[in-house]
Amino acid sequence: MTEKTISIKKRFLRICHGLFIVFLLIQLFPDKISKESFAYYSIIFASLLEILILAVSLFTKKEKSLNLIIDIVSFVYVFLILWTLGTAKFNILKASFFPPPGAVFEQALRDRGAIFVNIRTSLGIVIQGYFLALVIAIPLGLFMGWSIRTGNAATYISKFLGSIPPVVYIPYGIALLPTFRSVSVMVIFLASFWPALAGTMSGVLNVERQIIDSAKSLNVHKASMLFQIILPASLPQIFIGCNQGLSVSFILLTSAEMIGARSGLGYYVKNFSDLGDYTRIIVGVLVIGIVVTVIVFFFNKLQSFLLRWKN
């Protein structure tokens, strides 16, 4: 529990560096696939990652953050090693489905301009739909969860509505909303609204009775009860809902961004998936994953700030 300075050993003697070396050694095997494997690119990528992690190891102060990053990077290396072995080196996996990692990095580098535009477009839509959803779902969830009677029926109604697949409501959105972009935003909105609402309502219903009694005995008015008592007390559950909403948003981005858009990460993935371009599909998935990871990182920061009273 005590925070000491991190020892040199703990800083630099880590399994992840071993994995990096394994990855490099693997490159010595001859390629077994007919197509260009672009091993060069994957070596550059891994080396950049290694430099990054060495820098982090050198400068980070908190052992916990260092562990986190090392764990994630180790995972990435393991993944890269298996991927390289399975594709370029042993050709176990069908080449048309499983491009070697180098090819993916090469493609990503070639498409980098489009990718940045895609990230911007997608973030625009996601931020709009997602925050609109949170801003409505959280207060509504607090209110409905608190008025237990509506709350109970609302659980069912919201589950009912939350299970409608987007293929159903997208045509209605196109018919009723003013612009195609607003339909995309609506899809993201619906994707995140129901999880956020469900998480909030469930959080409210699970607030400890002692806390509620204590607040009641202070005779707090409704707004205070909802926002100063129930909201902080159910924050962990609200975060589950919001996090879940984020995942569903990105899952449905492929549906959301096929409505009148020509850019966006979902568009990129869906479009190339329809065309069967697996290298680019993987590029798209990796980019989505990285974007999600970055957002989750800030989410976690926010969460641990808001829940700092929990120890």
Partner: protein
């Protein structure tokens, strides 16, 4: 004097799955405005249940509970509570817990006044160095003192306190007892300004206090009347008036003969109830 609190043939039972458990039965008593009563009784006899009913948190199963002649339908601005479980809001610092209480009791004070009132009460309970800590960073006794500071700072007509000094050491307990009595009597020093009134005004009316304790000496020292509860099901067993003049001095009181007599009477009664139930 008028009846501040009237309890008439109160019964409370809890749902337990399909069964019902009777926690209190046939409770009747009244509390005068300005009266300080203590409730003692063995563990599980329904003291906390009664306090929750008075606080408006539990509805009676039968019988009538009225405050100022009006049946209790829920919590009210005229009451503040100290729970047996301390029940602070874990996401608020000690100070904010007190501020939150004051804010909801007295909207007339400005934000600044509320904070300085909160500070002053935290100092009075000996927590001047712990105002900015969250409950999870406080010791058991400290949490309890924050809860006491909150209830006292709210300056309500009625104080409902459930073993408020149970987790506090002997010294702090003495201090807190004195603080409680001073506030009850309406004696305000410069830092404890009454809510919504000017310090220059005449001393205000006494508060009405319902005080649960396990400590017989504490009950005698503080109260005008002691109500003893018996167990299974919870019911009133005996009421005793405590006639010592106020202000009472702990040390001199202990030496009087009446004190020893009252104390022995209470102990005997207590153990009698005991014998009949265990």
């Amino acid at each position: 004097m008028m009846n501040k609190i009237e309890v008439d043939n109160l019964s409370v039972s809890y749902n337990e799955g399909n069964k019902r458990f009777t926690a209190l039965t046939g409770i009747s008593f009244t509390v005068q405005a300005g009266e300080f009563i203590s409730i003692i009784g063995s563990s599980g006899c329904g003291k906390s249940t009664l306090l929750n009913v008075l606080g408006g948190l539990i509805a009676p199963s039968s019988g009538r509970v009225a405050i100022d002649g009006i049946p209790v339908a829920g919590p009210g601005k005229n009451r503040s509570m100290v729970f047996q479980h301390y029940s602070l809001f874990p996401w608020m610092t000690a100070r904010n817990n007190v501020v939150f209480g004051i804010k909801h009791a007295a909207t007339k004070l400005s934000g600044k006044e509320i904070v300085s009132r909160a500070n002053s009460f935290l100092e009075k309970v000996g927590l001047e160095n712990f105002k900015d800590k969250f409950p999870a960073q406080l010791s058991g006794g400290m949490k309890q003192r924050v809860a006491i500071a909150r209830a006292l700072a709210m300056d309500t007509e009625i104080l409902l306190m459930d073993e408020p000094f149970g987790a506090v050491d002997a010294k702090n307990r003495t201090l807190l007892q004195e603080l409680l009595l001073k506030l009850w009597e309406g004696n305000s020093d410069d830092t404890i300004f009454p809510i919504g009134e000017n310090v220059s005004q005449p001393p205000r009316e006494r508060k009405t206090v319902v005080f649960i304790t396990h400590d017989i000496d504490e009950a005698i020292l503080l109260s005008d009347r002691i109500i003893m509860f018996a167990n299974s099901p919870g019911r009133i067993f005996k009421e005793l008036e405590v006639h010592f003049p106020r202000p009472r001095s702990r040390s001199s009181l202990v030496q009087t003969e009446e004190y020893t007599k009252l104390r022995n009477e209470l102990l005997t009664l207590f153990y009698k109830d005991f014998g009949s139930n265990i």
